[in-house]
Amino acid sequence: MSEALLEVADLNAWYGESHVLHGIDFTVDEGELVTLLGRNGAGKTTTLKAIMGMVGRRSGRIAFAGAELIALPSDRIARLGVGYCPEERGIFAALDVEENLMLPPAVRPGGMSVEEIYTIFPNLAERRRSPGTKLSGGEQQMLAIGRILRTGARLLLLDEPTEGLAPVIVRQIGAVLRTLKAKGFTILLVEQNFRFAATVADRHYVVQNGCVVDMIANSDLGIRSDRLHEYLGV
């Protein structure tokens, strides 16, 4: 078994007075693609935000590449090599495509070059001078993923990159995720669409009411699909 790059233990998080995460535990190994599955409001997005230090208050342990993140502000966490792609994509309207792409600073050597990113996402190259939010939803999603590939981040936190996109775009994003995995990125993916998740992931954690309730290897997904359907209510 390879070394865990990310180890989350007893992670609790609060938004103001409301206690959202109640002791999340999971690990992601170097080079793995792991998903957090669960219903709306289960705490998947909050888990990513808590890892990034973007919730009001959090406790527990978040070990990343030998560093403890729980007390660090989010800019320091990013600089350790964590790239974050938010659910709402977070494309800046006041910046053009290339400015959006160049916004996150390189935090470690070994990031992809702009040319490589444009090779993966040729649409972005054509529209590099357009305002970021004038792109289609799919292009915005590609921009949101593309801009964290330049920085040298080793761990990518992707929050529902397929949400609201047409099937053809979802397949493109699936291909991109497999390419990134082949390039050695470690990816933690939040998904509601487990059929999509099954095409890209190594393992799945099921999140319910702010806790991880199960772990399913992708190879077991077939025999355990009834259980998963029950978890997800599909």
């Binding site: 990034m52 989010s74 800019d75 938010p86 309207a93 006041a94 910046l95 916004l103 996150p104 600073p105």
Partner: protein, 298 residues
């Protein structure tokens, strides 16, 4: 109705002289409202201390000259740096503590700071004001054929245009400007990309303060260096910002110059209205386009 428009066309020199005064005032309005717009964009604070920072810039130039014999030209660099540092200290010591609260607290806090700074200077220097002479290089006037253009006034117009252009360029065309624009939209996300946003906030407030101080130094030889100079200009500048739209960079610059000129022209055609015209325009803009001419609603 409109009988006031039936005045005879004023003589050209008067017209041009007021156009000049309008451009000069417009330059000050533009630089000050530019700083306010940048600060409001990133800090969400309506910086009532802006007039006090402008006044501090002028006083800084006066201290440098009368205590240390340091020239106007050096003051034009030193005063913005010094007042910029004061601004950064204000942000770190006061504004940061209320960053998570409603806008209103920032307004009250900066208003209080302005009262304290103004009060201290009035206590020390009275309210009559001290003269600051025009630098030797810019004394005199140039004969343009149709009018005499005072050299210093020409310089103020050129310098304020240049400062606005440079600021616009930095914000719209450079990396630091892209960070500023992005952090104005979504500071949490910019921070999650590894940018030290609190430091960016401090630098931005400092830059806004430096702009105000630069305007103060420019103004020193035209107006008296007086503790009241900030109070006198800031009300108009707030009206300019409301008209242009809070947080719009280009809007602040354009409406600053435009309203300065409109005010100057009103002095020619209807002098009694010249002190109120900007506020009348503000009221009209608020009725028709509450977010301001260049502002985005919401």
């Amino acid at each position: 109705m409109f009988s006031f428009l039936h005045v005879a066309m004023p003589p050209l020199p008067l017209f041009l002289a007021q156009l000049l005064v309008g451009l000069i005032n417009g330059g000050f309005y533009a630089i000050l409202s530019l700083g306010l717009a940048i600060i409001f964009g990133l800090l969400n604070i309506i910086n009532f201390a802006h007039g006090a920072l402008y006044m501090l810039g002028a006083f800084c130039a006066w201290f440098l000259l009368s205590w240390l014999g340091i020239s106007y030209w050096a003051a034009l660099l030193i005063a913005p740096v010094a007042v910029g540092l004061v601004g950064m200290a204000i942000e770190r010591l006061f504004l940061r503590r209320i960053a998570r609260l409603d806008h209103l607290y920032g307004l009250l806090l900066t208003f209080g700071l302005a009262l304290v700074i103004d009060g201290v200077f009035r206590q020390l220097y009275g309210s009559s004001g001290m003269p600051y002479s025009i630098p030797a290089e810019l004394q005199g006037a140039t004969d343009l054929g149709f009018m005499f253009l005072p050299n210093y006034r020409a310089w103020v117009i050129v310098a304020s245009f240049a400062v606005c252009a440079v600021t616009w360029f930095v914000i719209e065309r450079t990396r630091i400007g892209a960070l500023l624009r992005a952090a104005t939209e979504n500071p949490e996300l910019v921070r999650a990309f590894g940018i030290n946003v609190p430091r960016l906030v401090t630098l931005t407030y400092g830059a806004g303060a430096a702009l105000a101080a630069f305007a103060g130094v420019l103004a020193a030889p035209i107006y008296q260096v007086s503790p009241l100079m900030g109070v006198n200009i800031i009300t108009v500048v707030f009206a300019v910002v409301v008209i242009g739209g809070m947080g719009s960079i280009l809007g602040a610059v354009i409406s600053g110059f435009a309203l300065g000129v409109i005010e100057g022209m009103t002095k020619v055609f209807w002098p009694e209205a010249s002190t109120t015209v900007i506020f009348v325009i503000m009221a009209l803009v608020l009725l028709v386009k509450p977010a301001g001419l260049f502002g985005r609603a919401g």
